[in-house]
């Protein structure tokens, strides 16, 4: 049997859809009419994504400025030329995915979990390529301090992002949570790259990347919790 035969069979079987009770349709239309007011459509996903990316970059820059731009001051030109464009690309992609998750039926360039996982891998690879000092003095103490600082910057990014996207509707709230968590985590990583002067490879590869992973996981968990609460 050829694909065309199956196609014909499906087309014939599909035919005209069965009638829906006209009274039901009238009831639906009347209930909609009762609260029918003009609404302002959402801005395009490009505008929303640009706003999200700007917020992410602004939080990272503002945080690092307050704490001191020690990291970027001590960084070589080659490191700056690779780390920040990669971060910027991840922020833009993440902003597009976050905006897309809040608009039903929009294009999905990449699934949020794929973005989170690939973001962590790309950052680890870039850090492994650029940092070759494998000492690990005060690995946990300094690492936890960086993780905390990064996550503290992810929180305002998440709050402002939520405000920007508050009129949207997530058909998959967990995916939207992962996307928002990833975007917020990138603000934290951006701040750390600007601020943190510790260039030990294990520190950067583990703790700076952990900000992204923890933030994405937190977004997923919060969305799941919110979804469970709404269903109860």
């Amino acid at each position: 049997m050829r694909n065309g035969d199956i196609d014909d069979a499906l087309n014939r079987a599909a035919g005209a859809p069965p009638d829906v009770d006209p009274a039901l349709l009238d009831r639906i239309a009347n209930s909609m009419g009762a609260s029918l007011q003009p609404v302002r459509p959402l801005p395009s996903s490009g505008v929303l994504a640009a706003a999200l990316a700007a917020v992410c970059a602004a939080v990272a820059l503002a945080g690092a400025t307050v704490l001191g731009l020690h990291g970027i001051e001590a960084m070589s030109a080659a490191r700056i030329a690779l780390i920040f464009p990669v971060l910027l690309a991840l922020i833009c992609l993440s902003a597009m995915v976050s905006a897309g998750e809040m608009i039903p039926g929009s294009r999905h360039p990449v699934a949020p979990w794929v973005l989170l996982a690939s973001g962590c891998l790309v950052l680890t690879a870039v850090f492994a390529l650029l940092f070759t000092d494998y000492r690990h003095e005060r690995f946990v103490t300094q690492g936890v301090a960086c993780l905390k600082a990064g996550l503290l910057h992810a929180i305002p990014t998440a709050v402002i992002s939520w405000w920007i996207l508050r009129r949207g509707f997530a058909v998959n709230s967990i995916a939207a949570g992962v996307a928002a968590g990833t975007l917020s985590g990138l603000a934290g990583v951006g701040m750390l790259e600007l601020h943190c002067p510790n260039f030990e490879a294990p520190h950067i590869m583990v703790w700076h990347t952990a900000v992204l992973a923890v933030s994405g996981a937190a977004g997923c968990l919060l969305a799941w919790a919110g979804q469970s609460l709404r269903r109860k």
Binding site: A9, R12, A13, M32, P104, G105, A111, V171
Partner: protein, 209 residues
């Protein structure tokens, strides 16, 4: 033959239908814009025009007719609440079906939690003879699709019931065009096996002479 090619071929054969469909899409888009502006006539027209295919979309997913009625009402209520998320100039159907799909998934989860999930036909790979024959002896779409796993059934329903393109189905299901093509291709492989037997025979018997 790859799925994309035969779907493109179908479009090539039926270009008049495709043109009509484009015209109809533009009509739905303009109704949607008027609905956002608060036009009750446009809202009513949308409900009347799109409800039959939405209703069938739910029926194909093996919900009973009363449940399909409930899901239809719930879908329109949600559409009404989030109508501002439709952006003029964008296709309406992916937006609409993304919301309908969300309602169906919620319904499925609620039913599963309540232990009232209707019997899944996923494992029942034989097309039931009684259900397969419609009024004219032609298998129902629901019966033909009964052999498919849920994700493939959903894709075929959107392609065949709603007449959406691969790109539109990808948008509605939050996946890539490649993934939709793959699901459609796998669905056709399964349908080929099943329709070679009972389904196709009864289909041919149902053809007018």
């Amino acid at each position: 033959m790859p799925c994309g090619i035969f779907l493109a071929g179908r479009l090539g054969d039926n270009w008049m239908t495709a043109l009509f469909s484009m015209d109809s899409d533009a009509g739905i888009e303009s109704l949607m814009v008027r609905y956002q502006q608060g036009d009750f006539t446009a809202a009513t027209a949308l409900v009347k025009q799109l409800s039959p295919q939405l209703h069938r979309f739910f029926l194909v997913q093996f919900v009973s007719r009363p449940s399909a009625d409930d899901l239809l009402q719930e879908t329109w209520l949600r559409i009404h609440q989030v109508r501002h998320t439709y952006r003029p100039g964008q296709p309406v159907l992916p937006w609409l079906y993304a919301i309908a799909r969300n309602i169906r998934v919620d319904h499925y989860r609620k039913a599963r939690r309540a232990g009232m999930r209707e019997q899944s036909l996923d494992e029942n790979l034989e097309i039931p003879q009684s259900a397969a024959a419609g009024a004219a002896g032609t298998p129902d779409l629901e019966a033909i699709l009964a052999t498919l796993p849920e994700s493939q059934r959903e894709v075929i329903a959107m392609l065949k019931v709603a007449g959406m393109s691969l790109e539109e189905v990808a948008r509605a299901t939050s996946s890539s065009v490649g993934s939709v093509k793959q699901k459609a291709h796998r669905a056709y492989e399964k349908l080929r096996e099943r329709l070679s037997g009972i389904g196709m025979r009864s289909l041919r018997e149902g053809e007018p002479s």
